[in-house]
Symmetry: C3
Subunit: 271 residues, 3 copies
């Protein structure tokens, strides 16, 4: 039922992250900075947050991957994202974009599009409505904050076309995650409903993909295996959690405790 090669790949990627401890440079929103830094550490990677235009080019040159997350934008941060992204491109360091709230305001939609035009992005991770808002001639979408208003199923066909059009890999997360590079399609069935009851779950999924991208040159497998690992952690964390407060800590514990064998047997990736 589930792809064994990708389950094996997931375990291999996790091993690589823990051995190489890649530095992940995040230009991300204020809300999730602490949590995503802790998630990266729990995973085995090394986080750094830096947003000053004066230092992002130097910082990203030390990194194994760059995260651009537009969750709490302002104009100076947009300039820093563009600078860091261009340098990452020049150095062939993978870049992942999280278009938080794209579709909700013009600033967010326009900024996501501006980044996509200026920078080669290896993976875009968002919910269905955020991803759909990036289409040039998309359906009329309205985002209610950072919540998804489209189901993953509705988005599948559009996603393949959009991935081709944008020349990137899309990772559309929801109850089932859909990953496509325009040709290949994967679905990840790992995860737990409680993950939607804490803030920054999507942003953290993005950073997990970034850690896997730093060790896996194929954006499709990096995204699918990274999301599978994160979803499995959600499943394990839900076991003893009384509510979202205990769950968010159990999730960090699970990211830390999951070993290669857990992931090889627990990954639920379909192709």
């Amino acid at each position: 039922m589930f792809d064994q090669d990708l389950a094996q790949k997931a375990a291999e990627n996790l091993k690589q992250v823990r051995e190489k401890k890649p530095l992940i440079h995040n230009i991300t929103n204020y809300v999730v900075m602490n949590y995503t830094a802790n998630a990266l550490l729990a995973c085995g990677a090394s986080p750094v947050m830096a947003h000053a235009a004066e230092e992002v080019e130097e910082m990203v040159s030390l990194a194994g991957a760059l995260v651009l997350n537009i969750g709490t934008l302002s104009l100076p941060w947009i300039e820093a994202m563009l600078k860091a992204g261009k340098r990452a491109n020049a150095l062939k360091i993978p870049v992942i974009l999280d278009p938080v709230g794209a579709g909700a305001t013009r600033l967010r939609t326009d900024t996501a599009k501006r980044i996509l035009e200026a920078i080669s992005i290896q993976v875009i991770r968002g919910n269905a409505s955020e991803i759909l808002s990036l289409a040039e001639e998309g359906p009329e979408t309205s985002t209610k904050g950072v919540d998804s208003v489209h189901t993953v199923d509705q988005a599948t066909k559009t996603a393949r076309l959009l991935a081709k059009d944008l020349k990137t890999t899309l990772a559309i997360t929801g109850a089932v995650d859909l990953i496509t590079d325009g040709e290949r399609v994967c679905r990840v069935l790992n995860g737990h409903a409680m993950m939607s009851r804490i803030t920054g779950t999507g942003c953290t999924a993005t950073t997990m993909i970034a850690a896997f991208l730093a060790v896996d040159p194929d954006p499709l497998t990096a995204a699918a295996t990274g999301l599978s690992y994160f979803g499995l952690a959600g499943e394990k964390a839900s076991a003893g959690a009384a509510g979202p407060g205990s769950f968010q800590n159990a999730l960090l514990d699970a990211l830390y405790l999951i070993n290669e064998e857990d992931l090889r047997t627990g990954a639920k990736i379909q192709t």
Copy 2:
């Protein structure tokens, strides 16, 4: 001893928040962004943080309530607060102000007053010294950081006059919370001493009121019932908490776990 109508109203408001999942737009301080977002999710509401002048008017138009919190100010954020507040007023979206540290520095006191002059505020939530610093000809007050130096009792008389003067509802939190719109007065006796040992408790109380304001058009009852719900969560969270670290998570769990019946029987509101 406690007002049964308001206990019933508290349960009704909680039910409404969970059914309508109102979007709460926060322009708030860096320290508490993650925690208040999680508290809003635990409560059943939907949080968004956005501060860019370029997007706050669009964002607030999607919201059920707007939170203005001056805990970590800078000039661009003040402009964004004014813009968002004016748009909220135009759209009749309720606005709540948290004057964190007003009285401690002129920037904070002046900004709180400037917001009050420019925007119709439905509720101001602060500790006694912060609220008193908003009086035009208040007593000489000095705030020690964000801690209260006046007791709720000292502040009661002044509060009624001040609420009338400022044409708003004041929610003055402390060991006992005092809520007044200048005419009516409520006291909320829910809460636990451990709540003062974690950062952002006041800011989180403010967001809980915001969630209730989004479903209850009466600022006095929204504030009293929101504080009662939050205080009850503090009581429940204190049960198994070894210290402030475990308490802060238990508090999120409690916000999530409390049901309407818990609140109807546990609310301690006096009129």
Copy 3:
């Protein structure tokens, strides 16, 4: 084996912090603001975060110590740090610098040096590579994000010379912490490996030293005893923690629960 006078001093300093509840003014990075505020509250101190150039001079004048942490820099924050530091110097309020990531980018290295030139700093707390990057003619160092690339042992000799040169006290943290004012040298053996698996441990160590500096005029003993207290909390927190998520909360609990007697008997400071 361990210095009993300093163990006694540690207990005395903790007592003083809890009695005087000093206000600690932090101009610090976005990632750790919430956690360090909670750590200060758990310890018994009173935190405030404020970074606007328009208010930092007023705010610091209320404080018992000032923390300057360069973890997420931008130009306006650097100006605020300089303003606050100069006012602190004028008022003889102790200042502690945390040069997060110095050596990783020129902005960070240059900013740390600029602060050191403009302001009298009582304690600098960093890992070995950050501290070494502050040397005028230091060895060629490269920082991998915020991780240390030098052992404490390699740094000892350089540290004494550097402390003399910079006319400050250096607190170089790692598996063993080294503290020196150029003449005296202390080592702190408290701590636990899990402390390196959560974000902001170094920044939190810095704030604990700040709290102790607010009650102890000797930077060397304030730094050594503050680090011993924090390390002991790490040891206690590791007992029941399944992973970094539960550990970070247990650490706050431990900071709150440790009493003077625990610290007197548990401090592992060598002179």
